[in-house]
């Protein structure tokens, strides 16, 4: 849902932000029986508010994860233990 068009944005926002609208996403349950992506739909949110906007995803999943192994991080533990023990276990 578009909350503010670029023209309606607050005067203090920096130039790059002023070029784009303020947008919002909210999850909820579809009020009508059927709908398709891209359609204007009404949903009921967890606090039972009714909101109308464009349907962008159905049953969205959480996509954030634990990340990939980061070479710059994975040896830190070993290095610190070696520093503490003076590398005695080798």
């Amino acid at each position: 849902i578009m909350i503010l068009t670029p023209q309606e944005r607050a005067p203090q926002v920096p130039e790059d932000t002023k070029k784009v609208p303020l947008m919002m996403r909210v999850k909820g349950f579809l009020v009508d029986e059927s709908a398709a992506i891209g359609q204007l739909v009404t949903i009921q949110t967890m606090t039972k508010r009714l909101i109308t906007g464009k349907l962008v995803t159905i049953n969205p999943k959480y996509e954030h994860d634990f990340g990939e192994p980061v070479p710059e991080l994975i040896t830190i533990g070993m290095e610190l233990r070696d520093f503490l023990t003076g590398g005695e276990d080798e």
């Binding site: 309606e8 926002v13 919002m24 996403r25 508010r49 990340g67 233990r81």
Partner: protein, 473 residues
């Protein structure tokens, strides 16, 4: 008649909306001009330590363990010059119900909302506070809406904020996710008006009273463990609430000599409201983007008078880099067996650097930890950083770190150091902001008295700063 919901019209109604949504008549505390009676406000609308403890105990908040970091302390002894190397103790706030000290704040705000008969609570936050409010609202049977600044204009979400959104939803809250911009506040006002819910602001006297128990517990626990109060407490500094509440709690427990040190991640140069800078930050809180503006102009918050006033309490302010905090997060997990969240470890990073210059018979307390996991782990943040084009390398962070470009993970623990940000600079900036907002540089006697308290400064110092920042001398 339909209401005018344009940005300017809603912002013009802010005082009226806030009065209904916080239940505080801030006018009562105004002395003259910008001067207001801070202590009276804290007394009249806040809760006493005893009341706060009772309320928090009802929802399993507080009374968290305080533990000495013995292996890290061994490492510090190895690095420190003879006679130096203070012992670090850690307050494990991650064991609170939603995984951070923010439960202390939320516990009192939500309790108060329920007492006043509100049907629900709203909080504008991208941080752990959202999960805390959602958790407390669940416990007290109130509805809850959390408003997050979450995405850039390409719908790229910050992993840590997405995780916090997930946590809020797990507690049954409605999560409203917005793209970058300070108009988050505007939309929150609209929601408050629409729903009639309580504004569980991070900056109300209730929220700050909730943190006082943290400082109080630290004083008590350190006394029991070491026989005396700590020499220093290091606090991750963002909006100023944690430092204000902790310091007030310590003082109430009698620890008046303990130094209060603020620590933030150095993200200077990145604009907080910039669409393109938004995903170049790999800390979503505890950084200079909040730390400096909120210290130098506390009343920029979502309430008319901010109860978080860090310059009243902060004795020293230090900055550390993103890479150092990621390194220390690994250290905490692998040497102490404590896997804890990234932002909370900002103060631990600073504490290690400070411990090296303090004496070996001194103690230093890190006042928080937070939960971690998907989105929040250093690996999650650095994977995201790499996708956003950041250079990630091992090296000397103090020399090579460039916020928004290069993240430098130390090669050796001796590279954990801090950058001092002079408190006096912040006080000067405070005066500068004030002159800008008031459009005048002559203050009344009452205002001067207020400034002396708010800045812990003498009239001469304040006059010096006014002169220094005024264009027309």
């Amino acid at each position: 008649m339909t209401k005018d919901n344009s940005y300017t019209a809603v912002m013009a109604r802010r005082v009226e909306i806030m009065k209904k949504a916080v239940g505080i008549d801030y006018e009562k505390f105004i002395i003259k001009g910008f001067a207001f009676d801070y202590e009276k406000m804290m007394r009249e609308v806040g809760y006493s330590i005893e009341e706060v403890r009772k309320i928090q105990a009802e929802t399993c908040v507080g009374n968290t363990p305080l533990v000495e970091l013995k292996n890290i302390n061994k490492l510090i002894k190895k690095l420190a010059p003879a006679g130096k190397g203070a012992r670090i103790f850690l307050k494990d706030e991650a064991v609170n119900p939603s995984g951070s000290f923010k439960d202390r704040r939320a516990a009192i705000s939500v309790y108060h909302a329920q007492k006043l008969g509100y049907k629900g609570v709203i909080a504008a936050t991208s941080g752990n506070y959202g999960a805390a409010v959602a958790s407390q609202a669940a416990k007290r049977g109130l509805k809850c809406i959390i408003v997050q600044e979450c995405y850039d204009s390409q719908w790229r979400g910050q992993p840590e904020i997405l995780e916090k959104g997930r946590a809020c939803e797990a507690y049954g809250a409605e999560v409203v996710q917005l793209t970058v911009g300070p108009e988050l506040f505007y939309y929150t006002l609209l929601l408050l008006e629409e729903t009639g819910y309580f504004n569980a602001s991070l900056y109300s006297p209730y929220a700050i009273a909730g943190i006082e128990t943290l400082g109080y517990e630290i004083a008590e626990q350190m006394k029991e463990l070491t026989g005396r109060f700590p020499d220093a407490v290091v606090v991750t500094h963002a909006g100023g609430g944690l430092i204000t509440g902790t310091a007030r709690g310590l003082k109430k427990a009698g620890a008046t000599q303990t130094k209060i040190i603020g620590a933030s991640v150095d993200l200077r140069g990145l604009h907080m409201a910039s669409d393109s800078d938004f995903n170049k930050k790999y800390f979503t809180t505890g950084h200079t983007g909040f730390g400096i503006p909120f210290a130098v102009f506390p009343d920029r918050s979502d309430v008319p008078k901010n109860a978080a006033r860090p310059l009243r309490y902060m004795d020293k302010y230090v900055l550390v880099t993103q890479g150092e905090v990621f390194y220390v997060t690994e250290m905490l997990a692998q040497l102490e067996g404590l896997q804890r969240g990234p932002a909370g470890n900002t103060s631990l990073t600073a504490a290690i650097a400070l411990a090296l210059e303090m004496y070996e018979d001194q103690t230093i307390v890190v006042n928080e930890t937070e939960y971690t996991g998907a989105g929040k782990l250093p690996a999650a943040q650095l994977t995201f950083a790499r996708k956003m084009g950041m250079i990630i390398k091992r090296g000397d962070p103090i020399k090579e770190d460039k916020p928004g470009q290069v993240i430098v993970i130390p090669e050796h623990p001796s590279q954990i150091r801090y950058i001092e940000y002079p408190i006096e600079e912040m006080k000067k900036s405070y005066i500068k902001e004030l002159i800008k907002h008031e459009a005048r540089n002559n203050f009344t006697k009452e205002e001067m008295e207020f400034l002396k308290e708010d800045l812990r400064a003498t009239e001469e110092e304040i006059n010096e700063w006014i002169k220094a920042v005024s264009f027309w001398k």
